[in-house]
């Protein structure tokens, strides 16, 4: 193994994780806005949501990233690869999260809506006490899945020269030709990160179910 490989790859992994984390935070916030739009009473707002999701999910992430990165100068905006990369990841994950949230809300059985309304609860309390716990229960597994997808998606940003784990591995390989070793190590780093997130998600699921947050007792 070429000297310094582990350090460089570890640094790259941390950058990938930070990119994914910012994208997950930003994406979740944007997704909440989008999900609200998805259930708006105005047909135009709902249509805007569907167009957004259609375009973002129908275009490869690489093309979205290249579009943002190379076409932004046309709008006279100054961005480096990191900002463009995080932005595109946020746009991408927001579409995925929004669909997860929307699916979660739609999965709530009708009787729950009706009983909530018959209780005469104000919208905020209804959201807090009934919708949120149920939506969380239904959406936690796909949410964790999208988080894992975000970590994997960050590797695509290497092609627009955002320095993260995949680019770090590529640079080492192009310098030293230790293709198998370095790619194997990079794969191991990704595996640990993604598998770890997956396991954490499952523990969180069990934890929430036990605490009754999911709307039913253990």
């Amino acid at each position: 193994m070429p000297p310094g490989t582990l350090q460089l790859l570890a640094q790259g992994a941390i950058v990938s994780l930070l990119l994914a984390a910012s994208a997950i935070v930003g994406g979740t916030l944007l997704a909440i806005v989008l999900a609200v739009m998805a259930f708006s009473r105005l047909a135009a707002v709902r249509a805007a949501y569907r167009v957004y999701v259609y375009v973002v999910r129908g275009t490869p992430l690489l093309v979205l990233a290249l579009l943002l990165f190379y076409a932004l100068p046309a709008l006279d905006l100054r961005t480096g690869p990191y900002i463009a990369g995080t932005l595109v990841l946020i746009i991408y994950t927001a579409a995925l999260f929004a669909e997860v949230f929307r699916g979660g809300v739609l999965a709530i059985p009708r009787p729950q809506w009706e009983s909530a309304r018959s209780l005469g609860l104000p919208p905020l309390a209804m959201f807090r006490k009934i919708v949120a716990p149920l939506v969380t229960r239904y959406t936690l597994p796909p949410y964790v899945n999208v988080c894992v997808m975000t970590v994997k998606a960050s590797s695509v940003l290497s092609i627009i020269s955002v320095w993260e784990l995949t680019l770090a591995a590529r640079e080492i390989i192009e310098r030293t030709f230790a293709v198998f070793t370095v790619l194997g190590l990079a794969a191991a780093f990704y595996f640990v990160m993604c598998f770890g997130i997956d396991r954490l998600g499952r523990r969180l699921e069990r934890h929430l179910a036990l605490r009754g947050f999911a709307g039913e007792r253990a």
């Binding site: 259609y54 932004l72 690869p81 627009i160 020269s161 320095w163 640079e171 310098r175």
Partner: protein, 279 residues
């Protein structure tokens, strides 16, 4: 099926709106020169895999002839060669980095071409270059003419000049296109390609490092060329200063510093300051 047709129309509408909204903004009033002086630091975009112009050494530090020239520019501005920040990109990322204002200037084995000069401005050359072909010894190619056969593959960088040269000099050779010189080199080393075309100093550097496997073919592809510093077009004040700096490095008061850098990376004296004997 009808539903997705509606989406198609809506998506096209959104795109049309985006295009209509992207009216070009007015030009900058402030020169980059003032911005840089105010900032106290120079931001330089560069390729990072073109030895000996700009590359990472074994310790992972960015070094090279172009890097040292950029530091010389910083010394001229701030009396400190460390007041530089380097932004690393792949080949096609150089122009957006300048156009978007992310970087003040760029280096990295970048050759001056008229069609490129439409998008970015170039100073006069700070080093001569040319394009050579590096081949793997295993392929048995001994001359440029040998390369022009269907069974061989050449690795190009993804810029139009390389594509043109390949069409002109080796129309029969198969072409692979990569986004960094080191990817080209990896392609030759791993056997994906039999040859690559790149600036002569880079080809010679790689051949020297891989004496048993690789060779540089004699002759240049086309003419001797100019590598210059590139910067945003339309900024006369900044271009004038950078060009003056390069002029002084090659033919004037900063020639000693320039010579030192030239010697360090090419192991020989730079071209003489003047073509006549200065009194």
């Amino acid at each position: 099926m009808k539903v997705s047709r509606v989406y198609n129309v809506l998506a096209a509408g959104v795109v049309a709106l985006l295009l209509a909204a992207s009216v070009p903004v007015g030009a900058e009033e402030k020169s980059r020169m003032d911005v840089v002086l105010e900032r106290g630091k120079l931001i330089v975009v560069t390729l990072t895999t073109v030895p000996p112009f700009a590359f990472n050494d074994d310790k992972g530090q960015l070094v090279g002839f172009d890097i040292d020239i950029a530091r010389l520019v910083a010394t001229a501005l701030f009396k400190d060669p460390n007041k530089v920040e380097f932004v690393s990109v792949s080949a096609e990322g150089r122009w957006p980095a300048i156009e978007s204002g992310r970087a003040d200037m760029g280096v990295g084995g970048t050759t001056t071409y008229p069609d490129r000069a439409i998008r970015v401005a170039f100073t006069r050359p700070f080093v001569d270059s040319g394009i050579s072909v590096l081949v793997s010894k295993k392929s048995g190619i001994k001359s440029l003419k040998d390369l022009d056969q269907e069974k061989f593959t050449i690795a190009n960088l993804n810029n139009p000049q390389m594509a043109d040269r390949a069409k002109r000099f080796f129309p029969r050779t198969k072409v692979l296109t990569f986004d960094t010189p080191s990817a080209q080199f990896l392609a030759v080393k791993s056997g994906r390609a039999n040859a690559l075309q790149i600036d002569t100093p880079a080809a010679e550097y790689w051949a020297a490092q891989n004496k048993d496997e690789m060779d540089v073919l004699p002759g240049l592809l086309g003419a001797s060329q100019n590598n210059g510093i590139f910067l945003r077009t339309g900024d006369f004040k900044w271009w004038l200063w950078l060009d003056t700096a390069v002029a002084e490095m090659r033919t004037g008061s900063w020639y000693p510093q320039y010579s030192e850098i030239y010697h360090k990376w090419f192991g020989k004296n730079p071209p003489p300051q003047k073509f006549y004997n200065p009194q």
